[in-house]
């Protein structure tokens, strides 16, 4: 159970988030939509510990997250991806995948140096999992390529794979299909559904309303830093505030038609 209460965030004199209330049940797929500059990414940054909110609380299963650092939130099983999925140039896809794994022996410089066998065993298990995930994401043929040289869509898939290496309980996804070709977009949507079917809760920022409609049970609409609607995706087009936020005028078109960027 992911709960945010009264979350606010300002940069200097600009208030980016205002009194955001959010509740996500375990196993849900929740969409987060809103016009450009409405504060979606800032909210995701707050939820993932990359920013600490100025006001309000964020809780996950009874633990306060709003004062934790980014890496601490990640270690609680809440992982995120980024709008621009950049990946290291000097690392192979497989190595990038291993970065997402928790390898306690290999991470400890002294212990890792002396316990060769245990380290190798630990890594072999992670490699097995990484190969499975790469197969699942249709990236098997790229295993030895430099991660930073993949196409934009492949990088999005890879960052999904890297995040999945520890079987997170919650995934916060920042535009997982933006800039991705239509075929690959369908693949990503299918994979996200599979991931969710395995018990991972998803919060997805998306501009593509068709994608939101197919994926999500519920959707939050953010405008100028405030939640203006929380409803089923098919109710969006009948909500005058949502339509106004998107189009600036009360004309209920486009919103439900799947046009990617209004």
């Amino acid at each position: 159970m992911f709960i945010s209460r009264g979350v606010g965030k300002s940069f200097g004199s600009v208030q980016v988030l205002r009194d955001v209330e959010l509740e996500i049940e375990p196993g849900e797929i929740v969409g987060l939509v809103g016009p450009n500059g409405s504060g979606k990414t800032t909210l995701l940054n707050c939820l993932s510990g990359f920013l600490n909110p100025d006001a309000g609380t964020i809780e996950y299963d009874g633990t306060r997250l709003d004062r934790l650092a980014d890496w601490q939130v990640s270690r609680m099983g809440i992982r995120r991806t980024f709008q621009t999925a950049s990946q290291p140039m000097k690392m192979s896809v497989l190595e990038a995948m291993l970065c997402g794994a928790a390898l306690p022996i290999g991470s400890a410089p002294v212990r890792g140096l002396f316990r060769r066998k245990a380290r190798a065993a630990e890594q072999a298990a992670a490699v097995g999992k990484a190969l499975e995930l790469l197969d699942f994401l249709s990236l098997s043929h790229m295993t030895e390529e430099p991660a930073g040289r993949l196409s934009g869509g492949q990088k999005k898939l890879l960052s999904l794979g890297v995040a999945l290496m520890t079987d997170p309980k919650v995934l916060l996804l920042d535009e997982p299909t933006a800039g991705v070709n239509p075929t690959l977009r369908l693949t990503i949507a299918d994979r996200l559904k599979d991931i969710n079917a395995n018990g991972t809760t998803l919060l997805v920022i998306e501009h593509d309303m068709g994608f939101i409609g197919r994926m999500c049970e519920r959707v939050y609409v953010l405008d100028k830093g405030s939640v203006i609607a929380a409803c089923r995706p098919d109710e969006l087009k009948d909500n005058p505030r949502v339509v106004e936020a998107y189009l600036g005028a009360p004309r209920p078109v486009h919103v439900a038609t799947g046009v990617s960027r209004p």
């Binding site: 980014d70 980024f82 190595e95 390898l103 290999g106 890792g112 490699v127």
Partner: protein, 298 residues
């Protein structure tokens, strides 16, 4: 002549220790430590001061390892709040503070004259046998350091360091504590340089504050850039090349009429120009960092 060749090889091996240590920081993690010479200095002066008080040379090495590791951790921790270039300047300032203390606290460090007559492990062995023993010791140490550095770079520890060098945000999102990683890599890398400092001091049985000048750090950076920053093999190779340039420039004055007093500056000039040329035309060095293949047992 043989003596000279042995000397050159021994010093090259010691330099390899400095280069491998800096490569873990600057090459693998992307931390430009402009005060790297401080770690060398801590090792060197630990050995010198312990020797001054009649302690066993091994104790000096040990003290150097522990103190440098602590200093490394402290400097690494400063990386929490500092941007990369600020951190570089601060490390330089820390190293300069250390040098100033060494110059001024004569009772402890021998002041500007330094400490001489330091007894090392092979002090009783004279002639060729002594030189050879030193060479073997230093080469073994360099090989060991290479093995340690290469293992650290390849395993998950180094993989995370390489990730936070290139994509720090991604590393944080995967649960890696960037400050802690920086602190750890400095605590691990510093002792490698400190051992180099100790061995160097015991070998030439002298240490003085002029060996702590920022120029020494610059030399080690040159080794990395020539060899290929981020590549441990490159670091070792770079150390060898720089040592050869240094040794070779001794014969330069037999060919060209260079006055004695400018010999050292001509040497530095050559090294500086080589580095500039590499930065301009081949910044990835002779052995560019390669992708690491992972054994897939299937």
């Amino acid at each position: 002549m043989l003596d000279f060749a042995l000397y050159v090889a021994t010093i090259a091996a010691v330099y390899a220790l400095f280069a491998l240590s800096l490569n873990l920081q600057a090459g693998v993690t992307g931390l430009l430590n402009f005060g790297h010479v401080a770690f060398f200095g801590v090792g060197a002066y630990s050995s010198g001061i312990v020797a001054l008080h009649g302690g066993h040379w091994l104790l000096g090495v040990l003290v150097g390892v522990v103190v440098s590791s602590l200093l490394g951790a402290v400097i690494g921790r400063l990386g929490r709040t500092l941007a990369a270039d600020y951190w570089a300047i601060v490390t330089l300032a820390v190293a300069e503070c250390l040098r100033l203390v060494v110059v001024n606290e004569g009772d402890l460090t021998g002041g500007p004259q330094g400490i001489s007559g330091i007894a090392g492990p092979f002090s009783s062995v004279s002639g060729l046998a002594g030189s050879l023993s030193w060479l073997v010791l230093c080469v073994v140490l360099a090989a060991l350091a290479y093995l340690v550095a290469e293992t650290l770079t390849g395993m998950q520890f180094g993989r995370v360091l390489r990730l936070l060098r290139e994509e720090p945000m991604l590393a944080a999102s995967l649960g890696h504590n960037i400050t802690a990683e920086k602190t750890r890599v400095l605590a691990v890398a510093a002792p490698i340089a400190a051992v180099g400092g100790s061995v160097y001091t015991l070998y030439i049985s002298y240490i003085g504050p002029n060996q702590l000048l920022p120029i020494e750090t610059f030399l080690v950076f040159t080794m990395l850039i020539i060899g290929g920053i981020g590549n441990n093999r490159g670091a070792v190779f770079g150390a060898l090349v720089i040592q050869l340039i240094y040794a070779g420039s001794r014969f330069l004055k037999d060919i060209f009429p260079i006055p004695d007093q400018s010999a050292s500056s001509v040497r530095l000039l050559i090294v500086g120009l080589v580095l500039t040329a590499f930065l301009m035309t081949r910044p990835e060095g002779l052995f560019a960092e390669k992708l690491r293949r992972i054994d897939v047992h299937q």
